[in-house]
Symmetry: C2
Subunit: 111 residues, 2 copies
DNA sequence: ACCATACTTAAGAAATGACTTGACTGTCGC
DNA sequence: GCGACAGTCAAGTCATTTCTTAAGTATGGT
């Protein structure tokens, strides 16, 4: 699933996670997003492009200011991938535990 | 949070996600994991090292075979990060919706 | 002892990622 | 019109990632 590639890749960078955490509060312009970050404006733009191309962020330009907003639908996909993985693992793990417990009982009964 | 850096970075690669999805079923040896993959064994080892160094996978060597198993605790951290982000966003979004609706009513009452 | 199995290590090629600076392009306010 | 502001484009640099091949180390079976 190449969508997950891009999403996880996007979230792997601390600057981009900071942008996302900032955007969760409210939409913001590019320079507003750049202000607290210790890097050039083009660098921030590149991060925003990554976030936008994986669908996490939408932006629109009005006059000379581009406003960015979060699009959480994609987050849900990743959240679900991890959730299914983890619950499936726990399901198998519990079953394994049950098997081990049963063997333990059986072994005791053999004496 | 550098732990999230490493975890998301690890999950951004489709080969590594495939390894994780394979390991969710049951523990496996290195060559067992490598068999279905179209790449050399050292490449698979490197992927496993990435998974191990972010805490997603544990492995132990017995005789000449190294057995790898999944460690889902770290998954939970990422799952939670995304979940909190998304629910916080939805909370703010709902509140915004309420404000807009109230303004709409107010505007209608003005007529 | 000998050979195959199961990794392990090291070194290097090719592609990608995360920045930088410098030069531009549009808007806004006066 | 003109300067400042908000953003954009284009190179170019440096580090990291992903994969390769080749050679080496244990371990297990006979």
């Amino acid at each position: 699933m190449p969508a997950l590639d891009d999403l996880f890749q996007a979230l792997a960078d601390p600057t981009r996670r900071a942008l996302v955490e900032r955007l969760v509060e409210r939409p913001a312009s590019v320079s507003e997003l750049a202000r607290p970050l210790a890097m050039s404006l083009p660098a921030v733009m590149q991060h925003l492009q990554v976030l936008e191309s994986c669908g996490l962020v939408r932006s629109a330009k009005e006059g000379r200011v581009r406003t960015c907003r979060l699009e959480p639908a994609v987050l849900r996909a990743a959240e679900q991938w991890m959730h299914e993985l983890r619950t499936e693992w726990e399901r198998r793990f519990d079953r394994l535990g049950a098997v081990l417990a049963r063997n333990e009982i059986t072994r005791q009964e053999e004496h």
